[in-house]
Every structure is written in structure tokens, then in C-alpha cells.
Symmetry: C2
DNA sequence: ACATTTCAGTCAGTGTAACTGACCATATTA
DNA sequence: TAATATGGTCAGTTACACTGACTGAAATGT
């Protein structure tokens, strides 16, 4: 990912990464302060993808673009910390559904609140209109960059 | 980083992360194909921050938001693979400057070309105008999200 | 109905990349 | 010149990513 860096024209990858990283850091600081200091970014990236009725490990792996082994490792951690649970999949005896527990669900509004806060700060810096455009552009970009969707 | 996911309104963090990840993957595939298969994303994130006249380890660590130990570890790898070299800092006997080697510099146009390609694809999908707005918004966002800058 | 193939998930093993804490040597400051 | 700050390394731990090999259940094709 190297590129010439003429002081202001960073490559688009780094430009995406920098705010992502800043947001991530704030969210995890808030979670830690609320007593959820054991969740890690990698765990959260999987957690985020769990559907309302639970998701299969394989699907989580695909969505997060990691191997099923890695997904299994992360879900193990989340399970031991009681953020998720595994229940049998009634439609397929091979599979199990990873489901968010009550404790897991409790973290969601905390994250959501910080993210809303950050978005407000960003909107204040960019202006409401540009912030909306940014979100719209990224959402459209997802159509061609999210292999799962 | 958890958040409600109403099917289309993903949180802004994930929206930033998805295209970042897609770009990263393409760049590393291209580098691998060109015979530079040993560079890793973490190494590249440090490499990218090296200034034209070399940079100190501490500065690289700050810019990449990692500890100096981690930065040292990554630079060791880059050095062993001959992408960078360490020379004494003439202005401070404690410090050394990490500098891009010829071999390291050779990777830059490869990455740049793929990134240009991807940006063209994204521009085709969003339209030139929106792509320019996206870049502009992200660049401005950097003002409040890049603790180094 | 049964053999084959596909699919969900685990086990085992490896390497990379992140952290903390302790430390040394040189620079800077009081 | 004594105290403190800074640049960097050493040692140790943990997390997370991969590949390859495997088990058991499901779907598919004779």
C-alpha cells in the first residue's frame, strides 16, 4: 500500500483508515469505561455481523472476511465472556447459531452512543451536508467493495 | 464497535472499514504478483509513513499509532527484506533514520498504480464529482482524526 | 436406496503483530 | 552538574491471522 505522499494528497486507503482508527479507539475506550474492557476490535468486527436471529459461524466468517477457524476462535472468546451464546440450528444438525446474549446486547447502545457522538463531531467539522454525502458515498461504495453484502 | 444494523444504515466505522479492506487486499495481491509477496499490511502501514529523507522510529510509531516496540519489530522485518535501511541520525547520536531503499522504492509505483486503478473504478461507480467529494471529505476529516498529522 | 460430494465446524500447528515493563545511552533542562 | 526527558532495545505475554487435516451431517445423483 505504498504511495507518494505530497503532504496533503494521501492515498485513499490511508484516508479511509485514519478516521476508522480514530473512531475505533473512542468506541473501545467507552466500552472499557463502561466495564466491557475485555472486548477486542477483532471480536467486535465479528460481533457486529451477528444477525437479529443469530448467525452461523461460516456466515460470520464470510462477512468479516476471515477464515472460519479464526471466526471460531473469536466466537469462543465472545462466548466465554458471555457476549454471545451458541444454540443448535433447528434447520441443520451440523450447524449452530451464534446469538447475542443479554450481556452482549447491553454493549450495543454504548457503542451506538459514542458513534453518534463522533458523527456529530464530524458533521460539525464538515457540515451536515457533506457528512450526509460522505455517508452516502461510502454506502454506495459498499456495493462494489463488500464481497459479502 | 457494535451498532444496530438496519440492513442499509451501517455504522460509519464499518462503512469506512469495508472499502479500506477491499483496497488493501487488491494492493497486496498486486505486490505479491510483482514478487513482493513478503510485505504485510502492518509493515506497509509503517513503510508508508517514512518521509523522503528518512524518519525516526519514534515518529513512525506515533504516525502509525503503534508502540515504538511494535514499530521496531516491523522495521526489523522491512530491513531484513531490504525494503528499508537504518542510518545514523547526524543530529542525534541516540537516534537512527529509517530510510526507504531502492528495492523499497520499487514497490511504490506498483502500489500507486493499483490504487489509481481502484480509484478509477470507484469514480466510475460514484461519478467523478462524488469521488472528488469523498476524497475531500476524508482529507478534511483527517484534520480532526489524525493525532499525528 | 445408497454412494458421492458438499458443507458446518473443530483440532493442531505456525507465524505475525500488538501490548507492558524494564532498561541503557544520549540530550536537554533546571 | 544533577535531574529529567528522549530514542531505542530486550524480554515476555497475548491476540489473531493463516494452512492443512479431519469428523459428522446434509444434499445430490444415479
Amino acid at each position: 500500500m505504498p504511495e507518494d505522499v505530497p503532504a496533503d494528497e494521501l492515498n485513499i486507503g490511508l484516508l479511509l483508515y485514519i478516521p476508522y482508527r480514530a473512531l475505533e479507539e473512542r468506541v473501545f475506550a467507552a466500552l472499557a469505561e463502561a466495564g466491557y474492557g475485555d472486548v477486542t476490535p477483532a471480536q467486535a468486527r465479528v460481533f457486529q455481523r451477528i444477525g437479529p436471529n443469530g448467525s452461523r459461524l461460516t456466515d460470520l466468517a464470510a462477512a468479516a472476511q476471515i477464515t472460519k477457524q479464526t471466526a471460531g476462535f473469536l466466537v469462543d472468546r465472545l462466548e466465554r465472556a458471555r457476549y454471545v451464546e451458541r444454540i443448535p440450528d433447528p434447520t441443520d444438525a451440523r450447524a449452530r447459531l451464534v446469538r447475542v446474549t443479554e450481556r452482549g446486547a447491553a454493549t450495543i447502545p454504548i457503542g451506538a452512543r459514542v458513534i453518534a457522538e463522533i458523527e456529530a463531531e464530524w458533521a460539525a467539522h464538515l457540515g451536515q451536508r457533506r457528512m450526509a454525502q460522505l455517508r452516502a458515498a461510502l454506502t454506495r461504495l459498499r456495493e462494489i467493495t463488500d464481497p459479502y453484502r
